[in-house]
Symmetry: C2
Subunit: 137 residues, 2 copies
């Protein structure tokens, strides 16, 4: 602790707004919409959309959450090392979302990339499915 090296606070330091938004997404585990987050965190002191969007932007940038583009929603990252890549299944019927494990995906995507000679900087994959419980009913 008392050594001279700077120890730069870097990664662990989320701000208050970032923290409470992250906690909400963490506790929810489901995709949430920005304005729902705003409403939920009014009591924590969030008053304007911009406060929410700024926190969300930062958390996306840090790879701690993802945006699911086709439903304008945000969800906690359930993997490690996604960077800004996203891959989800979304149930057509009930809307349930699951993040695809990136170890399951890496091979498949890189084959895709190789086959198409793409130089991909990041990707966004949304697979619409019928989830188990919806398939039964």
């Amino acid at each position: 602790m008392s050594s001279t090296h700077t120890h730069s606070k870097k990664s662990q330091s989320l701000t208050k707004n970032q923290r409470i938004v992250l906690d909400l997404l963490q506790n929810s585990g489901e995709p949430l919409k920005a304005y729902f987050i705003l409403d939920s965190l009014k009591k924590e002191g969030l008053n304007s959309p911009l406060q929410v969007y700024r926190a969300l932007d930062k958390l996306v940038e840090l790879g701690k959450i993802h945006k699911i583009e086709s439903i304008n929603s945000f969800i906690i990252c359930n993997n490690s090392n996604c960077a800004k890549n996203t891959a989800f299944t979304i149930c057509e019927r009930c809307g349930k979302v699951k993040e695809i494990k990136n170890r399951d995906l890496t091979g498949g995507v890189s084959d895709l990339v190789k086959d198409n000679q793409l130089e991909i900087t990041r990707y966004n994959l949304e697979f619409y499915v019928l989830c188990k419980s919806c398939k039964i009913n």
Copy 2:
């Protein structure tokens, strides 16, 4: 013409609004935003967002155009038999969009699906890239 069989008008019959929206997207070849389409077609008689969105919805349903979710834009389908599946590359830098040929993709995606034991009803794939001209500069 005068025979008794119904010859059901089915596929070729787009309505006026659907036709002019499709033509615009066809002639453009680029992704266009709904309100840009509205502005462009004011002179053709389109007056309200709803007229545009209704035409777009129908054309998406018919598979003639696609929505690119992460940029809220619509583009003419450049394949056949996409159904409602979409796969695009999007340049990070200049925004240029290209549809990935589905013959290039089918294998890769079905491997992905097999590996992940998914029962996919449709997919939405967005690959961010650096396009050739952006890579040079």
